[in-house]
Symmetry: C2
Subunit: 339 residues, 2 copies
C-alpha cells in the first residue's frame, strides 16, 4: 500500500486548492465574455447534459497542472472518460485523481451559481483529499476542502485564497440528528437526466421519492417523511458538500458518477458523515452494519456528521437508523455500470 | 398620486441597501453564536415553518431604521403581519415598505445559505424599489437591488458594500427565450409547507407540475416540458431574484406572500421580466394580453427578460407565449386570501 504522510497530503491538498482556483478564475473570465457572446454548446445525451468548450478547457488545465506535479499518479477526468468507449469503473489502488472539471454545467450555461470544480484524490480506492470550488458563489468563490487523516481537517474558505477558513462541520460539535428523522431534516436530491415518461423510469421514481420524503407523517401509505425541505440544486457535487459541511442532513442521488462525488465524499468522511448505497443491499439484515457506498456505484445516500444523542445513541447508530428510514421511503433506482 | 423623483428613489434604495446589510451582519453574528449553542426555535404552522428569535430581531432592526428615516410611510413586515389576526391584503396606495426579515428560515436553521432579507418599496401598489440581501452567500454576502425608473437600474453586488456592482440582467442584452421553451429553460419552484397527502393537495399538484415540466417532450399526455432543470432552493425570494437577474428562466411559485416576492418583483420588472398569476385567469382568451400578477395574490409565475428573437417576436410576445406553455403543463393551485 502506498503510504502518504500528513506533510505529503497537505502538499497534495494545496496543489488541488491552487489549481481549483486557477480553473475557477478561467471560468469566471469565460462568464464575463459570455455577457457579450452567446455560449456555444453541443448536446450530449440530450439537452440536459451540456458540454461547453469551457468543460474541456478546465479539465486540461487541471490535468496538466496535477500531472506536472505528480507525473506517476493516475488521472480520471469526466471529459476524457466520457469521450472514450470504456464505461467500466477504472479506479485502481494506486494514487489516483478523480476530477469533474465542471459539475452543474447546465447551471453554468444559465449562470445560476451552483457550479463546482471537483478535485478528488484517492488512495486504495478511498477518497482521501477533496477540493470543491464553486467559482460563482460569492465574489471570491466558495471553496470546501478536506484532508482525511488524524492530523488532517476540513474547511470552508469563502474569503479568497488569502482569507481565513472555517473548520467543518460548521457547527462543532455537530448536533445529533433529529430524534424522529427524517422529520426535520433538510434533504437534497436531483431529478437528473433520465426524463423518460414511464412508471418505471428513474424520473418517475425519483419524483415519487421526493414526494414521500416531503409528505406528512402517516401519509403515502406510511412513507411520509415530513422533511423540513427538499432541495434540488442541479449539482450533486454541491449537494454532497452541503451535507459534508452540516449545511444539510441527507443527500440522496443516483445516476451521477464518481467524479461528481469523490471530492465531496473525502470532505464528508473527514467531518464524520457516512455515505452508503441509495438502494438497500438486497441481503442486508436489520442487524447488519451498513457498508460504505461503492465509489463507482452511481448511487449515493449521504448523512451528515452528528454527536451522541440524549438517549446515548452513537453518531453511527443515528446515521444508520436514518439510512434505514430513508430506504423505507424510497424506491430502488435503476442505475448500473459495467463491471 | 405620490411622486418620487429619481433622487428620492436613489436615497430610498441606499437606505434599504444599508439596512439590509446591517440586518445581514446581525444574522451572520447570530450564526457564529449558533456554532456553540443550538438555536431555539418554536413551530408555527408545522415543523416546516420555523420562526426564530432572529426573525423578529431582524424585522425590528429594519422597521426601526426605515421608519426613523420615513416616519409617514406604511410598513408591512412578515412577522408583525403573521402575529396579527388580520390576513387580508393590507397594501394601500401610499408609500409602503413590504419586508420579509428572513426568507428561507428553514435554510437558515440548517445553515444552508439560500436565505435572504427582502426589502421592497411600493408606490400605488407597484414594487418600485427592491433590495434582496443573502448574507450567507459568499464571504461578503450577495445583494441584488433595483430602482424602477427610466434613470434607475438593477444591480448585483457580491464584493461587499464598497465593492463594484454588476448591472442586471447579467447578460446584456439578454438572450431570446429558447425557441421551443420551456424546453431548455431553467425552472425554479418549491414544494412549500402544505404537506397533506391527498390527490388534490397543493403538494401533490406541485410535484406533478414539476414532473410535467421535467419530462421528455410528448410525455405526460403532451405535458412534458423537457426543461433543462428543476431547481428548489427553499426560498421564493431567491427563486425570484435568479429569474430577475437572468440566472434562471422561469419561477413558478404559489403559497408564498407579498413580502417574499415584492423586492424581487421590483428587480424583475426593472430588468424587463414579467410576473403573472401562476393559475391562468379563467376568462382569458388566447388573444388577450396577460395581466400582471396581483401582488397579494399568493401565486406568481415569473419569466426573465429577453431580446427580440430571430423570428422578430418581441420580448413580451415570447414571454407571454412561454407563460401559456407553462400554464398548459401545470395544474391550478389552491391558494387564496381573504379580500
Amino acid at each position: 500500500m502506498t503510504e502518504f504522510s500528513i506533510v505529503e497530503l497537505r502538499k497534495l491538498h494545496d496543489v488541488a486548492c491552487n489549481v481549483a482556483r486557477i480553473a475557477g478564475n478561467y471560468l469566471r473570465e469565460d462568464q464575463l465574455r459570455r455577457r457579450k457572446v452567446a455560449l456555444t454548446t453541443r448536446e450530449k445525451l440530450n439537452s440536459v447534459d451540456l458540454v461547453t468548450a469551457a468543460d474541456e478547457g478546465v479539465e486540461k488545465i487541471i490535468k496538466d497542472s496535477i500531472l506536472k506535479e505528480y507525473p506517476d499518479h493516475a488521472f480520471i477526468g469526466e471529459e476524457s472518460y466520457s469521450a472514450g468507449q470504456e464505461k467500466r469503473f477504472l479506479l485502481k489502488d494506486g494514487p489516483t485523481w478523480i476530477v469533474d472539471p465542471i459539475d452543474g454545467t447546465v447551471n453554468m450555461v444559465h449562470m445560476f451559481p451552483m457550479t463546482a470544480i471537483s478535485i478528488g484524490f484517492c488512495l486504495e480506492s478511498i477518497p482521501t483529499v477533496g477540493v470543491v470550488f464553486a467559482p460563482f458563489l460569492g465574489g471570491q468563490g466558495t471553496l470546501y476542502s478536506a484532508i482525511r487523516h488524524p492530523e488532517g481537517g476540513a474547511w470552508l474558505s469563502e474569503f479568497g485564497p488569502d482569507g481565513p477558513s472555517t473548520p467543518l462541520p460548521l457547527t462543532s460539535p455537530p448536533p445529533p440528528l433529529p430524534a424522529d428523522a427524517p422529520k426535520g431534516c433538510l434533504f437534497f436530491g436531483e431529478y437528473g437526466k433520465d426524463r423518460r415518461d414511464s412508471p418505471q423510469s428513474n424520473l418517475t421514481k425519483k419524483a415519487a421519492n421526493f414526494v414521500n420524503m416531503a409528505t406528512e407523517i402517516g401519509g403515502r401509505g406510511g412513507k411520509g417523511g415530513m422533511v423540513h425541505g427538499i432541495r434540488s440544486l442541479g449539482s450533486s457535487t454541491m449537494d454532497m458538500v452541503y451535507v459534508a459541511s452540516g449545511q444539510g442532513d441527507i443527500m440522496f442521488e443516483a445516476g451521477c458518477w464518481e467524479w461528481d462525488v469523490c471530492a465531496g465524499i473525502a470532505i464528508l468522511l473527514q467531518t464524520g458523515g457516512i455515505v452508503v448505497d441509495s438502494n438497500p443491499p438486497t441481503d442486508l439484515k436489520d442487524s447488519d452494519p451498513i457498508p460504505m457506498a461503492n465509489l463507482g456505484g452511481r448511487r449515493y445516500l449521504a448523512i451528515r456528521a452528528c454527536s451522541e444523542d440524549v438517549n446515548g445513541r452513537s453518531p453511527r447508530a443515528q446515521q444508520e437508523a436514518l439510512v434505514r428510514e430513508v430506504w423505507k421511503r424510497t424506491e430502488r433506482l435503476d442505475y448500473q455500470r459495467p463491471v
